[in-house]
Amino acid sequence: MIPAGFEYVRPESVDEAVSALAEAGEDAKVLAGGQSLMPLLRMRLAYPEVLVDLDRVAELREIRDLGDALFIGAMATHHQVMRDPLVRRHAPLIAQATATVADPATRHRGTFGGALAHADPAGDLPAVALALDAVCNVRSARGSRDVPAADFFVDWLTSALEPDELLTGVTVPKLGPGWGTHYEKFHRTAQSWAVVGVACAVRRERDAVADVRVALTNMGAAPVRATAVERSLEGVPVSDGAFRSAAEHAADGTAPPGDLHGSPDYRAHLAQVLTRRALTAASAR
């Protein structure tokens, strides 16, 4: 459990960080909270030649109100995010899901941006970003670009980031009145990863579902939207029966993994149960 050797740079600004990345080329890795990267290094599953440590880049820790959206800096820690008044008010789904991530020690170091850039399908926050139609803000020495969450998570541990690119933060549209959200996480112990998770946002107009978004954690190589559930609910009157029959489609088109914590068919079953519960909780607000 000892990492192989590497070079280490510690930039103090975004500009310095992206030029360090540009210089290092393919073999550089960004180090954020280290809560996912350090285990990979220690198990010698990753051999980067250069680590670019973002710890000193203060501007990446900011959380700002943009009017109709929030900006969450990539280096905002889980601990910071879940307690932030803006996040709690305008994106309570993020605060709620973040509180289920790991344990207090890990949440003090792990970052929002790191959790997205790592693109672990078992991570809780990718599905949440997907359900909220968040946009990832990306910078490199070549320039800036915005990548919608729907395009950001490409495959298992693979995001849309190029090796020289930095995730600087995430823009999260505020949900207006009428919206309710819920993250339903199923895990075996308080500190363990989601076997399956369901991030859900529902907008009610009177007694009907006006808008609904459902995204699934750990139901494939990347987080996915449960589009069949969403489609079958649009405009439908809110009722237990409607949620129940819509939730039966939660696993449609997914390819859930099988591991020690659950086989694919158990996960498919869980997705249905948890989706029904998430819809019920989100629409109860």
Binding site: M1, I2, A4, G5, P39, R42, M43, R44, D103, F186, R188, T189, A190, Q191, S192, W193, V195, L260, H261, G262, S263, Y266, H269, L270, V273, L274
Partner: protein, 786 residues
């Protein structure tokens, strides 16, 4: 005969004096040691469960920066010997050679095949990657039932079989019971393989010093380790000093003589420099000995009124690839416990130890008794269900009543004392048993997706290991006594030396409490020394809930000898007859003349000065004592568990847990409470979370704590604990031992509760660990077949 001392210290819930340094880490863990010129060793381990080694090329590794030396098994073959097994349980037990480093065969994933000694840990780890090993893979043996079938592949080809031994115990006419009893409950239960997870990983440092060696190790057994290192390496015992500095937990996993310990010593000898090794968590999961792993075939015979007639137990016990220190004996400790607290007139126990291509097994908290207790307590619930009786009632009809002690059990033990009625009544009351049963009925009625289950475990266990004579009769290689010495220093302060080796149990506090009461000195004036063979010259170390029930009694004996000697000196100084002296609160006074007195501190100074001692009394106030128990001790208790089972997801939540334990006299209630809580967590973990899983190639897939789940406080309920106090009659304090009770009792309580919740659905077992998926599958299989 029980002569309980009503002192100020015994019975007081003192906070543990060692905790400040243990919790803050301001202490010497083995891995903290830095010695001049120290080198670090890293081990290359087999990626195959079973293979022949056809070549090892270490030339490149030797050239790597910082590398001092590289050794293969072949390099050390002449001096490394074979790791010891001290418990040949039968005369014909098959006992393969076990080289600390594999020479030409590897038999489990993780077995060391080469090592790099380097100037730092990083250089050592890097150079491992440059060693090239050629393997010729062989078929791994992974399934015990297949391993003992005809024509099976063999773990050790030269043995001609995968069976190490078969051990049998029989008493009474079981055939008649099985033939005549109207009710037979037949079950197959699997005790899954567990990985002991001590907070502190294993670590060892060995330094050449003068004409010998000092070896520090995170071990439970410095004394046994010294003897075994001498035996294995041929280095004379008096040239070896073994130190167990503060040790962060063991649970049996550090009751071992590990290859890494032997190799650290050999490398220190070869290179003439201090050597350090510390394992990583993943390395530890692969290579600390594992626990449990039994397949149990059980038949319980009973009358229609629930009276037990007899019990048949057939075990396959996984030894893993080799026999380690006490591997073969572990399942046999269960042989005496499958009958639990119940009366029956026939019993048969057969155990076959089986070799597989997995990490060797050995003692893990409870060691044989949890497996046995699980079996009988599960069977009692199954019997109750079969006869439509309350599980408490079926137990009442069979247990030994308090007036029947001492009681000779069908398994050949004599239970000295106990009161199962009292513990059970107290537990039922605290649990609000009837209220919960009513809620259960209501949830069943409503077909609530969350069902309530109630699990019972009325357990006993044998601990205080062990009467040496009994160990001898079981062919164990050593005795079960313990040693203590007490020195009252010239200044009146007291040093206590114990042969027990604390690794988290709080001996420094409890031993000081006992000493303070026995000698009448302040608690703060007592210092407890342990865990260093130069300081504590003899001892049998800590395991099997033996420290207090054996080592504590040795301490009492040593204290009493000090008081006897002090009395002679005091009588002489006071010019009084010994019989006329009273000893209370640390003062000897002449009966009827209370101001004619000498304190024990004054006596100690006089004994040190030795100016005026009575004839035949040697200078200095100290003593040495040992204690060898006549019998085991038998803690018991009643544990009740309520679980909520989410029938939609299979998730199990423990709603409440009541543990009423009877551990005899309690020296420190806070320590007892801590042991119970930790024990419960570990037993619950077996029921719900933990399992060492191997894939079809024999790779351990649970090498990290993301895969090998252990519960944290957040996953456990608020435990309600209480006690009854039936003193042991076999030692002068009346103590029994509490280190393993919680682990032994709780596993069946939880599984019984889960099965109880699901019984209306036709479920009668869920294999451990009862993961959500397994619970869900158990429900689905029933629904599918219904």
């Amino acid at each position: 005969m029980t002569e309980t001392v009503a002192g100020r210290e015994i019975g007081s819930a003192r906070r543990r004096s060692e905790d400040a340094r243990l919790i803050t880490g301001r202490t010497q863990w083995t891995d903290n040691l830095q010695l001049p010129g120290m080198c670090h060793v890293a081990f290359l381990r087999s990626p195959y469960a079973h293979a022949r080694i056809t070549g090892v090329d270490a030339a490149e590794a030797r050239q790597r920066p910082g590398v001092v030396a590289v050794f293969t098994g072949a390099d050390l073959a002449d001096e490394q010997g074979s790791l010891p097994c001290a418990w040949p349980v039968t005369e014909d037990m098959r006992h393969p050679d076990h080289p600390p480093m594999a020479v030409d065969h590897v038999r489990y994933v993780g077995e060391p095949v080469a090592c790099v000694v380097a100037r730092d840990r990083y250089a050592a780890a890097d150079a491992l990657e440059a060693i090239d090993v050629d393997y010729e893979p062989l078929t791994p043996v992974l399934d015990m039932e297949q391993a003992v079938a005809d024509g099976a592949d063999l773990v050790h080809a030269d043995l001609g079989t995968n069976s190490s031994y078969t051990w049998v115990f029989e008493n009474g006419d079981l055939d008649a019971a099985l033939r005549d009893a109207p009710v037979l409950i037949e079950r197959r239960y699997v005790q899954q393989r567990l990985i002991p997870t001590a907070m502190e990983p294993r670590a060892v440092v060995c330094a050449p010093e003068g004409d010998g060696f000092t070896l520090w190790s995170a071990t439970q057994i410095p004394h046994i380790l010294r003897l075994m290192l001498a035996t294995v390496t041929g280095i004379p015992e008096h040239r070896l000093r073994v130190i167990a500095p503060d040790v962060g937990g063991g649970f049996g996993s550090k009751l071992q003589v590990y290859g890494e310990e032997v190799l650290a010593l050999l490398l220190a000898r070869r290179l003439g420099r201090p050597i350090k090794w510390t394992e990583s968590r993943s390395e530890g999961n692969l290579t600390v000995h594992h626990g449990r792993d039994q397949i149990q075939r059980l038949t319980l015979a009973a009358e229609r009124d629930g009276t037990i007639r007899g019990l048949k137990v057939d075990l396959l016990a996984d030894m893993g690839a080799y026999l380690m220190l006490v591997t073969p004996g572990i399942p046999l400790l269960g042989a005496f416990m499958f009958n639990g607290i119940y009366k029956m007139d026939a019993y048969s126990f057969t155990c076959t130890g089986v070799f597989t291509n997995k990490t060797p097994t050995d003692a893990y908290r409870g060691a044989g008794r949890p497996e046995a207790t699980f079996a009988i307590e599960r069977l009692m619930d199954e019997l109750a269900a079969e006869l439509d009786l309350d599980p408490i009632e079926v137990r009442r009809r069979n247990w030994i009543r308090h007036e029947e002690f001492p009681y000779d059990t069908i398994a050949g033990l004599t239970y000295d004392s106990g009161n199962y009625e009292a513990a059970t009544d107290k537990a039922l009351h605290l649990f609000e048993y009837d209220t919960l049963r009513a809620e259960q009925a209501d949830r069943r009625e409503r077909r609530d997706p969350v069902q309530l289950g109630i699990g019972v475990s009325t357990f006993t266990e044998m601990c205080g290991l062990a009467p040496s004579r009994v160990l001898g009769s079981l062919s164990y290689g050593a005795g079960g006594w313990e040693h203590a010495s007490v020195r009252v220093l010239p200044s009146g302060k007291v040093e206590v030396v114990t042969g027990s080796s604390a690794h988290g149990q709080g001996h420094e506090t409890a031993w000081a409490q006992i000493t303070a009461d026995r000698l009448g000195v302040p608690f703060e004036d007592v210092r407890v020394l342990h865990g260093d063979t130069s300081v504590s010259p003899k001892g049998m170390d800590t395991y099997g809930s033996r420290s207090l029930a054996v080592g504590g009694i040795a301490l009492v004996n040593a204290c009493d000898k000090v008081v006897d000697k002090a009395r002679r000196v005091a009588a002489h100084l006071l010019e009084a007859a010994e019989e006329d002296l009273e000893f209370t609160g640390g003062r000897f006074s002449v009966r009827g003349v209370p101001d004619q007195a000498r304190t024990i501190q004054e006596v100690a100074l006089a004994a040190f000065a030795a100016h005026d001692l009575p004839d035949g009394v040697e200078p200095s106030l100290d003593s040495d004592a040992t204690f060898d128990p006549d019998n085991f001790s038998f803690p018991h208790g009643t544990h009740l568990c309520a679980v909520e089972v989410d029938t939609e997801t299979g998730f199990v939540r423990i709603r409440s847990y009541v543990a009423v334990d009877d551990v005899g006299l309690v020296v420190n209630p806070l320590i007892v409470e801590g042991q119970v809580h930790g024990g419960l967590a570990q037993g619950i973990a077996q029921a719900l979370y933990e399992e060492a899983v191997y894939d079809a190639e024999g790779n351990l897939t649970t090498t990290t704590m993301a895969d090998y789940l252990i519960p944290s406080a957040a996953d456990l309920p608020h435990f309600v604990t209480d006690r009854t106090e039936t003193p042991a009659t076999t030692n002068p304090l009346g103590v029994k031992g509490v280190g393993e009770a919680g682990t032994i009792a709780s596993t069946p309580a939880v599984v019984n509760a889960i099965v109880d919740a699901l019984r209306p659905y036709g479920v009668r077992d869920v294999p451990m660990p009862c993961t959500p998926e397994r619970v869900w599958r158990a429900l689905n299989e029933q629904e599918g077949s219904a």
